[in-house]
């Protein structure tokens, strides 16, 4: 089976969902992105990415956790699915494998 492609931003968002561990929804993911990566993106980008990740089966969601400061509206809380965590681990493994293949001096700044 061809593995579903995970884009760079998608990967970061998926990691944020994993970091937030059950508390991930639009607001927290945006804030975490800003906090951990310094990236300022529009809410729509985060929203769309989360939907796309869910369609690809990497996260699952459910509605819940209505609070007064959101006018009693429910949040959509995201969780990493087994498929999602597997994808993250695969990427991690692939990266470390690739890192090991890089010759020791290749990435050093030369000339000094």
């Amino acid at each position: 089976m061809r593995r579903t492609y995970l884009g760079e931003f998608e990967e970061v968002v998926l990691l944020m969902v994993a970091i937030l561990d059950g508390e991930a929804y639009g607001v927290t993911v945006s804030q975490a992105l800003e906090e951990h990566t310094g990236r300022l993106v529009t809410f729509g980008t985060v929203h769309n990415t989360l939907i796309r990740l869910e369609e690809k089966g990497f996260v699952s969601s459910e509605l819940g956790g209505a609070t007064a400061d959101r006018g009693g509206r429910r949040k959509r809380l995201f969780k990493v699915t087994a498929l999602g965590s597997r994808a993250l681990q695969d990427i991690q493994e692939l990266r470390s494998h690739l890192w090991q293949l890089v010759p020791p001096n290749a990435l050093k700044i030369s000339g000094l």
Binding site: G26, V27, G44, H47, N48, R52, E55, R70, R73, K75
Partner: protein, 901 residues
């Protein structure tokens, strides 16, 4: 809560969001953005927060926002045509059919009977329509037909005409590519050495015949085989029968001799041809060269413009226009016949396409096998109706069960079935049932094939389906297509009706059957019964006409009349008449034989005609046309034909020299035609026949010389004898076999070397009605089937509708309704439909039967009571069918139906 503690994003931006953001994610996005606004507000103040809010709202508006798909699409949705779904449909369909055995049984038997009947009729129709299709040039071949008028009156409408016609037309008109001329030779007896072979129908044909038609020779040259006098071509089966040869030895037969009838000169075999296909209007086993005829009949068979016994077929050039050619024929007649100066009649010629020669030919003196195209089309219409009725049954029963299956549909829909999948399921039920029925029907057709072929006396087969029948493989494809379409359409309506139910309504129990569905079902029942009533009325009329023809007083008595063929292998000489008379006298000595007569011709055969018969003393320029019949002096007594005036023949009236026979007896029609006021006044008067003066010595009453399809003809009787012809004996039937043996003994003693063959006059005469009787049998059988299938449908329909009203019936009974009133109530609805059907059917039936009756010269009146009887019959069949269910329902204990709920 104070507004300062709870900052608000700009209202217009919020409104923009609620208006434009997709509804599925609005709640969460609204909440998220509110929360973010509060966050920005805290961190950077109202201005930045407002700006950020607006920017982010825009980022979640179309077209930037991604739409979240519907919740249910998260389940894996299979297309209705997915293999898994199809497997599921079939499984469910099987279970459903198995579960409702009565429903499936009623449906299946209706379909099987319908399809079988349809297949059988299609075989017959295909066979009839495929006549002469094997002729490669069928579209270019025409037969010349000839109408003759005397004093503006049509006196002959025939396919025979003068010997010169084909030849002259081919010479005069360049658009004619070729022609062939045929003379019927009747049935010939073939003789090889001492052995005699049974009669074979045969033609005298000219040298063009074998290359003109597609009758391929196995050995011999088609161009020359029929050129020389006394040439003979045999069919393969005759060659095998007479010479006992294998196909590889056919060549050895060329040049061998055979004898025909009494001829002393041998005939030389010049070719062996393939057997004539059953679907050929020309049927023969032997061909003899036309030149032979010139020797025996004289030269007139080549150049006469007066004598006529020839059939001419023309083949036009591929680009020629038959209509244009036909328009040149009046000039042709004028050129060669000069009004009525040459042949005594005004001659009109027409071209009849070969395609019409079998089914659409209403001519006298036919050469070949003719059937009624009307009958064939009627059969086809019946076949279509039967199939339609069977399919309608399916539609009716399937939709009638909708109540029962509504819950199923509701539950399926709730569980996530799409209407495409539901349609797939119901369609597969119908396809399964239909296919099953089709297989059974094919099996049944093959099983019944021998019986069918025996009844219709035709070599029918399923060739139509294998692409070898009428229309070839295209027709086979069309049939399969029609059938597939029928299955599809009959499954389609119920499938749509059932899958359109609203799950909520059904499951809440507030579901009502739609008035439209009831209306459709009702009209389908009306259609079925209309077809049935038309068929019932048709069957009645056909039977009454057949009965009428059998019972009608023919004007002569043919009961207990044994007829033997004359000794046509005995030579005619001066002692012949004496021998015939002594043979008659000898046979009459036998105790069982009451009377005996010899005649050249008999009832049921087309009589020869003579034109230009004139009363002596009348000053009319042109005479009339009469038929002739040669009989002996015992003929009228034996057949009990009444003598109206004058006397019977005397022995002195006849003479071996035909020209010396002057005295004639005529029938009443002749008397009228010649213009005598009464029978008595005609006696002693004279008229000219073939230019010779004849005297009327007696007048007999009219009788039906042929079947009732034909009008009574004016007949002149002459006391001629022949060695051929027939001997009729009125006999006691008590010891039939002994009597026949005695007659055979006498026959063999008087006429040694002849074949003794006999038949009964009434049976022979009734053979004229064979096609009609077959038609009658077939229509009865299939009408019965149609009514049966329609009743099956009504039975099923009534059982379901009544089952649905079980509660209503229960309440009515509790409130004191009687069984009778409930039965009446339940039957009323169905009877109304049948009554409507009768009203619709009557005019259709009236039109159809009057078309059929038009072919008969003497026919029954279509009286109103036939319609009434058919109506009563239809109503009673419907009533019996419905009351099965309605009585059962009315007798049911109301506690049973009312207990639940």
């Amino acid at each position: 809560m104070k507004p300062s503690n709870h900052p608000h994003p700009p209202r217009w931006a919020h409104r923009l969001l609620t208006r434009l953001h997709p509804a599925e994610t609005l709640e969460e996005v609204e909440g998220d953005l509110d929360e973010l606004y509060a966050y920005w507000y805290r961190r950077a103040g109202q201005k930045t927060a407002t700006w950020q809010y607006v920017r982010n709202v825009l980022s979640v508006l179309p077209p930037f926002v991604r739409r979240r798909s519907h919740e249910e699409e998260y389940y894996q949705q299979l297309s209705p045509l997915h293999p898994i779904m199809i497997r599921n449909y079939l499984k469910i369909a099987f279970r459903n059919l198995w579960k409702n055995k009565v429903f499936s049984g009623v449906n299946l038997s209706g379909l099987v009977v319908g399809i079988t009947a349809c297949l059988m009729i299609l075989q017959y129709v295909s066979f009839e329509l495929s006549f002469d299709q094997f002729q490669t040039d069928i579209d270019r071949i025409y037969r010349v037909t000839n109408d003759r008028f005397q004093k503006g009156k049509l006196i002959q409408h025939g396919t025979i005409t003068y010997p010169t016609i084909g030849k002259t037309m081919a010479k005069d008109y360049p658009e004619i590519e070729g022609y062939t001329t045929i003379v019927g030779a009747g049935r010939m007896k073939l003789r090889r050495d001492k052995s005699l072979f049974p009669e074979e129908s045969s033609f005298y044909v000219d040298e063009h015949f074998l290359s003109f038609f597609t009758f391929p020779l196995v050995v011999g040259d088609p161009k020359t085989a029929m050129k020389a006098p006394n040439s003979l071509v045999l069919t393969e089966s005759n060659a095998q029968r007479i010479f006992g040869v294998q196909p590889k030895d056919y060549a050895s037969l060329l040049g061998q001799s055979l004898y025909i009838d009494l001829d002393t000169e041998p005939y030389r075999i010049t070719g062996i041809m393939k057997d004539v296909p059953a679907a050929s209007h020309l049927q023969f086993g032997v061909l003899v060269s036309y030149e032979t005829l010139v020797r025996t009949w004289g030269n007139w068979v080549k150049d006469s413009w007066e004598g006529s016994d020839m059939w001419h077929y023309l083949k036009l050039k591929p680009e020629a226009d038959a209509v244009a050619l036909e328009q040149k024929f009046p000039a042709f007649s004028e050129r060669y016949f000069n009004g009525d100066k040459v042949s005594g009649s005004v001659e009109k010629f027409y071209l009849q396409p070969l395609r019409k020669a079998h089914l659409f030919s209403d001519y006298e003196y036919e050469i070949g096998v003719v059937n009624s195209g009307k009958a064939v089309w009627t059969m086809l219409i019946i076949a279509v109706f039967i199939l339609l009725i069977a399919w309608i049954n399916y539609i009716n029963l399937a939709t009638a069960r909708s109540m029962e299956r509504a819950k199923e549909v509701g539950v399926r829909k709730v569980a996530g079935a799409t209407s495409g999948q539901l349609i797939g399921q119901f369609l597969s039920e119908s396809v399964l049932l239909n296919l099953f029925a089709l297989i059974l029907a094919l099996f049944l057709t093959v099983m019944l094939q021998p019986v069918l072929n025996q009844i219709v006396d035709k070599p029918l087969s399923l060739a139509l389906l294998t692409g070898q029948g009428y229309g070839g493989s295209l027709m086979a494809l069309m049939l399969v297509g029609t059938f597939a379409l029928g299955i599809f359409l009959s499954g389609f309506y119920p499938a749509f009706a059932l899958s359109a139910f609203q799950a909520i309504q059904v499951l809440k129990g507030s579901f009502k059957r739609s008035a439209k569905g009831v209306w459709v079902r009702k009209s389908l029942v009306v259609f079925q019964y209309t077809a049935s009533v038309v068929l019932i009325i048709g069957t009645f009329i056909v039977f009454r006409q057949l009965e009428f023809m059998r019972k009608e007083n023919l004007g002569f008595n043919m009961e207990q009349m044994l007829v033997i063929s004359g000794p046509d292998l005995t030579r005619w000489d001066s002692t012949a008449i004496d021998r015939i008379n002594s043979f008659k006298a000898e046979v009459k000595k036998r105790a069982a034989v009451k009377s005996a007569t010899a005649s050249v011709n008999l009832f049921g055969n087309r009589l020869p005609r003579t034109f230009n018969v004139k009363r002596v003393g009348s000053n009319e320029a042109k005479g009339v046309t009469v038929s002739r019949m040669a009989v002996d002096l015992d003929f009228f007594d034996t057949y009990r034909i009444k003598l109206l005036a004058g006397r019977n023949f005397l022995t002195t009236d006849s003479n071996p020299d035909g020209r010396k026979v002057v005295n004639t007896v005529v029938n009443l029609s002749t008397v009228r035609l010649l213009g005598f006021p009464t029978a008595t006044s005609a006696v002693g008067q004279k008229f000219t026949l073939f230019g010779q003066e004849k005297e009327i010595v007696g007048v007999v009453s009219d009788f039906h010389q042929q079947s009732l399809r034909h009008p009574i003809e004016p007949i002149v009787f002459q006391p001629f004898y022949t060695n051929g012809g027939f001997y009729s004996f009125k006999i006691e039937t008590s010891n039939l076999e002994k009597t026949i043996d005695q007659i055979r003994e006498d026959y063999e003693a008087f006429f040694p070397g002849n074949n003794f063959s006999y038949f009964f006059m009434d049976e022979r005469f009734d053979q004229q009605y064979r096609d009609d009787q077959v038609f009658g049998k077939i229509t009865t059988f299939f009408s019965f089937l149609a009514v049966l299938i329609a009743s099956l449908g009504l039975f099923g329909l009534s059982s379901y509708t009544i089952a649905q009203r079980a509660k209503e019936i229960g309440v009515r009974k509790v409130l004191g309704a009687s069984v009778g009133s409930i039965v009446a109530l339940l039957s009323k609805d169905f009877l109304k439909l049948v009554l409507v059907a009768i009203v619709v059917a009557s005019p259709i039936a009236w039109y159809a039967v009057s078309q059929w009756l038009d072919d008969f010269a003497y026919k029954i009146d279509i009286s109103w009571w036939i319609f009434a009887v058919a109506g009563v019959l239809a109503v009673s069949i419907a009533l019996v069918t419905v009351s099965f269910q309605s009585i059962k329902a009315a007798l049911m204990n109301p506690v049973k139906t009312l207990r639940s709920e």
